[in-house]
């Protein structure tokens, strides 16, 4: 198993200089997701406006993979329509769960394709998906008109 497939420069870059980190106002929904295996946590807020993702803000503790994937999520999602954002979450999830079988779609996932190598490390799949699942949860709740949970 090649380590540099996992720790791509892109991932280390996002890990060392995370984009959009910190919980911000305003927001529609806030969720906390945890990885019970390792104890990693993410608190994530979503703010929607005019059918678009106006902000994704987050705070948490976790490994380089989970922290970098939250940073990439932030960069990718802000400004996207809700439908577009959720379809990108699905594309990312499929890629991560593919055990290296799916060719990553760079147009859809941008920096997110750096995580394609994670799919070959089953123990790290949850790390990569933690914030993306939190985002999906918070966005679906926000669309449903929910408030803080």
């Amino acid at each position: 198993m090649q380590l540099d497939q996992l720790y791509q420069e892109m991932i280390l870059d996002h890990y060392k200089a995370p984009r959009g980190r910190g919980l911000r106002e305003p927001f529609d929904t806030q969720v906390r997701h945890v990885n019970p295996v390792c104890g990693d946590e993410v608190d994530l807020r979503v703010h929607l406006a005019d059918g678009r993702v106006a902000d994704v803000s987050y705070e948490g503790v976790g490994c380089s993979i989970s922290q970098a994937s939250a940073s990439v999520l932030h960069e990718l999602m802000v400004g996207k329509s809700v439908d577009d954002a959720l379809s990108r979450v699905d594309a990312f999830t499929n890629m991560i769960n593919s055990r290296g079988q799916i060719e990553p779609n760079e147009k859809l996932l941008e920096d997110g394709i750096a995580f394609a190598g994670v799919s070959k490390f089953p123990a790290r799949v949850k790390c990569a998906l933690l914030s993306w699942m939190a985002f999906k949860d918070a966005t679906v709740q926000a669309v449903a008109g929910g408030t803080t949970s």
Partner: protein, 455 residues
């Protein structure tokens, strides 16, 4: 040739100096040939990610020697049958092997009788067995009236009663007691941990009181490596009439155990951490307690007689072994006990103490490395958890794995201990009889690579 200092014997004569009576000498310590022992473990020959396997995760599960693998194969190839119910030859042989393993385990831990050894699935089930016996005894009508009319009051819990554990426990010695307390209205209390990673016994008299029904403490911490001194806690538990249990999962595989010497009521441990297969664990309990305890799981093998209107139960240990037990696994545990005994538990403990001393020194040379738990090889075992420059343990473990070094990362099923030290996770190296100083060097080199990637 250098002059011999006045007053000291010449080098050639020094060995003749008689040490003070009773003082242990370095050369007196029991030892074994590590290279020979490594030859018993086939898995140690394999490679991981292009490197020689460096297995530093025995606290998680140990590797298995040929002697145990051979015993399993021989059991299935020659003696496989069900136990305790067959008149045929295979069943008789299987029963003899299963009960023989029980007797070996009893001798290994200094139990007075094999009947005090209950086979379970693992330590977790052993602890749950005690917790559920308490719960069953606490149910309304006095639990199960068919257990020989024994006095079950020692196991009956209700509001006002207390169970005492510690912040250092594995989840398996926390959650069963939390559930038991929630279900009975009893209160759970716990010892804290000092900054050095030892049990804070300063409030032992306030924690353990006349309200305490059971004290259950880990003997060797699975995360900090602390080997707890039990005397004060034991004495206080006895003083107030409480039962006293030890989670010995990380102790029995590594050092001599004497249940009579510890004057304990129950101990739990598991086979797979001591060279045996998974799926076999042990609850040892004092006979008069086991005899009075209501059953946990009901079913075949644990009964005396069954009628549609009710049943009576076998005595211990059968009362607590419902259903077909893990026969081959028990035989494997018996073989593991033989294997460890032949090397000598004293020698294994000394080997690990020397390795731990080396590892503590070596790890403390790594910049940014912080050891959780005792930093001296006294009152501690060969389980060393640490933080490396704030780099997440998952990342540490991943890079080490690329070097063939297998360590555990995460909260180690001891989340309260992690919280106590302000971290979500730790990296843990845990040593056993087959480990060497070369492997600790490999760990240290691997940690340098980790720093290279993330620092």
């Amino acid at each position: 040739m250098t002059a011999t200092p006045v007053g000291l014997p010449k080098a050639s004569e020094r060995h003749r100096v008689t040490p003070p009576a009773g003082m242990p000498q370095y050369d007196d310590m029991p030892r074994f040939d590590v290279d020979k022992v490594r030859g018993h473990f086939p898995i140690l020959d394999r490679e991981v990610n292009g490197h020689r396997l460096v297995y530093l995760d025995s606290g998680n599960t140990s590797q298995k020697p040929r002697q145990v693998l051979e015993a399993l194969r021989e059991h299935f190839e020659l003696h496989n049958g069900n136990v305790a119910r067959s008149v045929h030859t295979l069943g008789t042989e299987a029963t003899a092997a299963y009960e023989g393993a029980r007797a070996k385990v009893a001798t290994f831990i200094g139990a007075t009788s094999p009947d005090e050894v209950v086979f379970t699935k693992n330590s977790t089930e052993a602890i749950n067995l005690v917790a559920y016996s308490f719960l069953n005894a606490s149910l309304g009508k006095g639990g199960d009236p068919h257990v020989g009319g024994a006095d079950q009051s020692r196991f009956r819990l209700g509001p006002g009663d207390e169970i005492v554990i510690s912040e250092m426990e594995h989840h398996s010695n926390i959650v069963p007691w939390q559930l038991l307390c929630e279900r009975t209205g009893a209160t759970l209390r716990w010892f804290g941990i000092t900054d050095e990673g030892r049990l804070d016994e300063s409030n032992v008299d306030e924690l353990i009181t006349e309200r305490t029904k059971l004290v259950s403490i880990v003997l060797v911490s699975n995360i900090l490596g602390t080997a707890n001194a039990t005397t004060r806690i034991h004495d206080r538990a006895r003083e107030v009439g409480s039962l006293f249990m030890l989670d010995a999962s990380q102790a029995v595989p590594h050092r001599p155990m004497d249940v009579v010497g510890y004057d304990v009521d129950f101990i739990a441990f598991t086979g797979h951490k001591m060279c045996a297969p998974t799926g076999i664990g042990v609850l040892w309990g004092r006979r008069e307690l086991l005899e009075a305890m209501p059953p946990f799981l009901g079913g075949g093998s644990m009964i005396e007689t069954v009628e549609m209107t009710g049943s009576t139960f076998a005595g211990p240990p059968m009362r607590f072994e419902a259903g077909t037990p893990p026969i081959a696994e028990a035989v494997g545990l018996g073989a593991a006990v033989d294997y460890l005994s032949a090397i000598g538990m004293g020698a294994i403990a000394w080997h690990e103490k020397e390795l731990t001393t080396y590892a503590l020194d070596a790890l403390q040379t790594v910049p940014g490395l912080r050891i959780f738990g005792p930093r001296v090889p006294v009152g501690r075992a060969g389980t060393i958890s640490f933080d490396l420059a704030g780099i997440h343990p998952h990342d540490v473990g991943q890079v080490l794995d690329a070097e063939g070094v297998q360590v555990r990362v995460g909260h180690h099923c001891a989340r309260p201990t992690c919280v106590r030290f302000g971290v979500a996770a730790m990296t843990r190296a845990s040593l056993y009889l087959y480990n060497t100083t070369d492997e600790i060097d490999a760990l240290v080199r691997g940690l340098e690579r980790v720093r290279g990637v993330f620092a």
